[in-house]
């Protein structure tokens, strides 16, 4: 057993940190309050090659593992919280189904452009009438010669304002006619053609620099060449990408939690009330120490899941557990940071309220804590499925 990062991993962490240091808190605070996409950060991240970290070298990437990608995402979230993470997350994780299952033509057309940051991507899976129950999505793709014609609605589609393409999950066989409910679903890397897709931005609690939207898809024409993997196997292909997404999300939670904790610890040792630093009161110190311990534990779980994934071993329970623990640890750390800063913690200038708002989403997306617990109950503990 070896808990050390390799020298290459340490160099990557130092490298991405040096990049992130050029984007101070004020940059993120401003972009968040102006609801403005962090284009400069995205460009810098792309130019330095980080978007292509997990894209194979043959397609313009660096061909590294999910462990390296997770370390990078953790640093991004440490610097710019979820605004930073979500700005680049989809380019790193979202295209994994294309890397693994895409045709040669699809890979050639999109992976190099993705690695260079020339194209933005969205992930259009969730639907208003299906929610966590993905098999019940209604968006339908009808074959029409060389094309498919897609109709339906998607909700919570992040980055659809910027995206050129979206990873779009559809049904090609209605659920009633499918042999199993997970059959008959098809995944496309579809054009986000504004003539056929109305993109309506949603108003949310936080992470305002990166948009989340409702999509109204009306006769969108998608070339058969944009199909990812085989028709009818979209659900399974999507599932293949879920473990990396959970690992990266966990890494982001650890980054944001550490950022909050750093600020809280500095403040706790500097702020003097009743003639002593507030951090000298155990009521302030212990919750911070506890937050640290939880983040450490979540990170170990996350790294274990990433390690398994990179060894091509099953890692579903570990990736789910990492996401569960990291989302809790992140939110707790942010909440305690707000409490440590008292009234100042509630003020935008001090940043922790932004972390608090943003970290809340990790308990809901990309998969809710409840659904993670369902998975663990059913697949690890072998308890009867409850739903």
């Amino acid at each position: 057993m070896d808990f050390e990062l390799t020298s290459a991993q340490r160099e990557i962490v130092a490298g991405v940190r040096a990049l992130c240091e050029r984007f101070p808190d004020s940059y993120w605070r401003d972009h968040d309050s102006r609801h403005e996409f962090p284009h400069e950060f995205y460009r810098a991240f792309a130019e330095a090659g980080y978007l292509g970290i997990a894209i194979p070298e043959d397609y313009g990437g660096s061909g590294l593992g999910i462990t390296e990608a997770a370390l990078v995402m953790s640093e991004a979230a440490h610097a710019g919280a979820m605004n930073a993470a979500s700005a680049v997350h989809l380019s790193i994780f979202g295209l994994m189904p294309v890397v693994v299952h895409g045709s040669e033509d699809l890979k050639r057309r999109f992976l190099p452009a993705a690695a260079r940051g020339e194209m933005h991507f969205s992930f259009a899976v969730t639907e208003p009438d299906a929610g966590n129950d993905i098999t019940h999505i209604k968006t339908f793709a009808r074959r029409d010669g060389d094309h498919y014609i897609v109709n339906g609605r998607k909700v919570f589609t992040t980055k659809a304002q910027e995206a050129d393409r979206m990873l779009l999950l559809t049904r090609t066989t209605p659920i009633e006619k499918a042999p199993r409910r997970t059959d008959g679903m098809t995944l496309f890397l579809a054009p986000l053609d504004r003539k056929a897709v109305e993109v309506r931005e949603l108003h949310k609690l936080g992470r305002h620099a990166v948009d989340t939207n409702m999509l109204f898809i009306d006769n969108l024409q998608v070339s058969a060449g944009d199909l990812v993997g085989e028709e009818g196997r979209g659900f399974r292909i999507l599932m293949d990408g879920l473990n990396p997404e959970r690992i990266l999300t966990a890494a982001e939670g650890i980054g944001i939690g550490r950022a909050a904790l750093d600020k809280a610890v500095r403040y706790a040792s500097e702020r003097i009330v009743f003639g002593r630093p507030i951090g000298q009161n155990q009521a302030i110190a212990h919750p911070l120490a506890d937050a640290h311990a939880r983040l450490e534990a979540a990170e170990l779980m996350m790294l274990k899941a990433a390690w398994l994934f990179d060894r091509r071993e099953p890692c579903g329970p570990e990736a789910s557990t990492a996401k569960l623990l990291a989302a809790e640890a992140a939110f707790e750390a942010c909440d305690r940071a707000v409490q440590t800063l008292g009234g100042y913690g509630y003020m935008q200038e001090y940043d922790v309220e932004r972390f608090f708002r943003e970290s809340r989403m990790l308990r809901i997306a990309p998969v809710s804590q409840e659904m993670v617990l369902n998975t663990i109950s059913e697949h690890v503990l072998k308890l009867p499925r409850s739903y």
Binding site: S7, E11, G15, V16, A48, Y50, L64
Partner: protein, 249 residues
Amino acid sequence: MKILVPVKRVPDPATTIRVLPDGSGIATDNIKWVINPFDEIAIEEALRIKEKQGSGEIVLCSIGQITWQEQLRTGLAMGADRAILVKSDQPLDTLAIARILVKVVNDEKPDLVILGKQAIDDDSNQVGQMMAEMLGWPQATFASQIEFADGKCKVTREVDGGLETIAFPLPAVVTTDLRLNEPRYASLPGIMKARKKELKEIAAESLGIDLAPRLRIKKLTAPPKREAGRKVESAAELVQLLHSDAKVI
């Protein structure tokens, strides 16, 4: 053009420095180490010269412990071609450093040596000048612009009165000032490529150079804690206080 860039490892400028209780040095636990910012500017300038000229070789050189490899790797990741680490576990003074670098220059025969005007740890500002003297080469310190024309190097220097431009033939030693450029950061492919680049180690003792220190640091003390200032109501009061309290006018 072949360019040699000497690189020193220093504490990150953002680190809080603590002097050891006995004054023998600084506490090195929890310090983040970086390339001396002026040397980073030197690496960047060498890269720009190479990129502009379309060819060339950039060799980095550090003199220090094995851990200094980290900073050399960062420089290689920025784009330098190879690196030399002259290993020494004992602290060396500026004269010994300059002597070692001159030896490296004699072996490597670069056309140009670019290095920081000073290292931000001890702020000596001596190595570049000593090297030029020992090599008998022209030197241009505090460079804020470097150009090449008609086989000559033209350097704009930041001096007290303003800017001075000097031209001289190569080989030469140039030391960098803050405004010369803004260094790039290493890219991910750069980091991965750097791992395969040559990083040669040489033992300082094997060079046959007199490394005995001529300079001894007797004691380090932290600067006195700065007291909070105070606000005055008017200019007249300020003048009065400068006269009566501070006794400076």
